[in-house]
Subunit: 190 residues, 2 copies
């Protein structure tokens, strides 16, 4: 992922190795990856929320101190975006990613406060070849972000489409001799 280095941003990637995840074939259910950590400042929290989620407890330290969380907290969408960055840098394959149709069970169980450091982990939970598009697979990932005190601040179940390795065999379900439209007729008795 050489292009990431061009951007010159200040993310802590020093402790995470390159896992060699390049194609769908490399993602095996059960495998779990440390995706590095990111520290978020009060200025960043206010800047994101001013643009996208200007509720008082995200943008106004004084109002936030008197509010439901007793201080400023990050927008859940900011936390999600910070976690996404770690996944792009350490988990998703730059050359084979075909995007995501969506996320299930996105949770923010504990607030993110200024100065918090979030460590991100990704665990492959499912990986199957597409039956209709043999060049790709569908991968599901359990994502978790934990703060410096061990509290989970975000979790989610993501779905991603990824290209298979160019020299991969076609999956069984795409074999030419399985083309009969009988998948909706269980045990038709013939």
């Amino acid at each position: 992922m050489i292009w990431v280095r061009f951007l010159g941003l200040n993310w802590d990637t020093s402790v995470v190795t390159d896992y060699g995840l390049k194609y769908f074939d490399d993602y095996v259910p059960g495998a779990s990856y440390d995706c590095g950590s990111v520290t978020v400042s009060q200025a960043e929290i206010i800047s994101f929320a001013t643009q996208f989620d200007p509720q008082p407890f995200h943008v106004d330290p004084e109002a936030a101190a008197a509010g439901p969380f007793g201080g400023l907290i990050a927008s859940g969408w900011h936390t999600s975006a910070l976690v996404m960055r770690e996944l792009v840098d350490h988990y998703l394959p730059a050359g084979a990613s075909l995007g995501s149709p969506g996320i299930d069970e996105l949770r923010w169980p504990h607030p993110v406060r200024p100065g918090d450091t979030l460590r991100v982990r990704a665990t492959v939970t499912e990986a199957r070849r597409s039956a209709s598009k043999p060049d790709r697979g569908i991968m599901k990932t359990a994502i978790e972000a934990v703060n410096q005190d061990g509290q989970t601040v975000m979790s989610a179940k993501a779905t991603n489409f990824l290209l298979v390795r160019p020299d991969s065999d076609a999956p069984d379900s795409d074999a030419p001799d399985s083309g009969a439209p009988d998948s909706g007729a269980p045990d038709s008795g013939a």
Copy 2:
């Protein structure tokens, strides 16, 4: 939501009225609200994604043109953040919002491209008083964002905690005479 006006940002709120949604009590299941629209530029797409989701099809117009979407598209997290801004401006109550524990079934069924205008709709699907914390209620919302061609680009089911109106009656489930722990014993026959 006077404080929103301080921020001086360039969002189209002109066609949306103030719905008078101030407390939990004002959200009635079935009610549906037009939450305004927002247009996203190529520069904004690249800026957000450079920081949070620097996959080639979000940050590099040339690579994106040759990529899976045939052009640059917005990060799903960017789309979500843009939609959140519309909800904060037109749907969530600035003085009574107690945050969100999470989102279910977040979907990005169609790409968002530079110049697209997204119109946001929020529909109350559930609203119940908290049994354990009588000052608040739990509201669920079906969110949908549609582009200028009528294609749905995002949908989600959000949960929010909101303060009840200060002079509201306590809910039945918090009445002192309903404290017997019998809710788990259906028709015990006595």
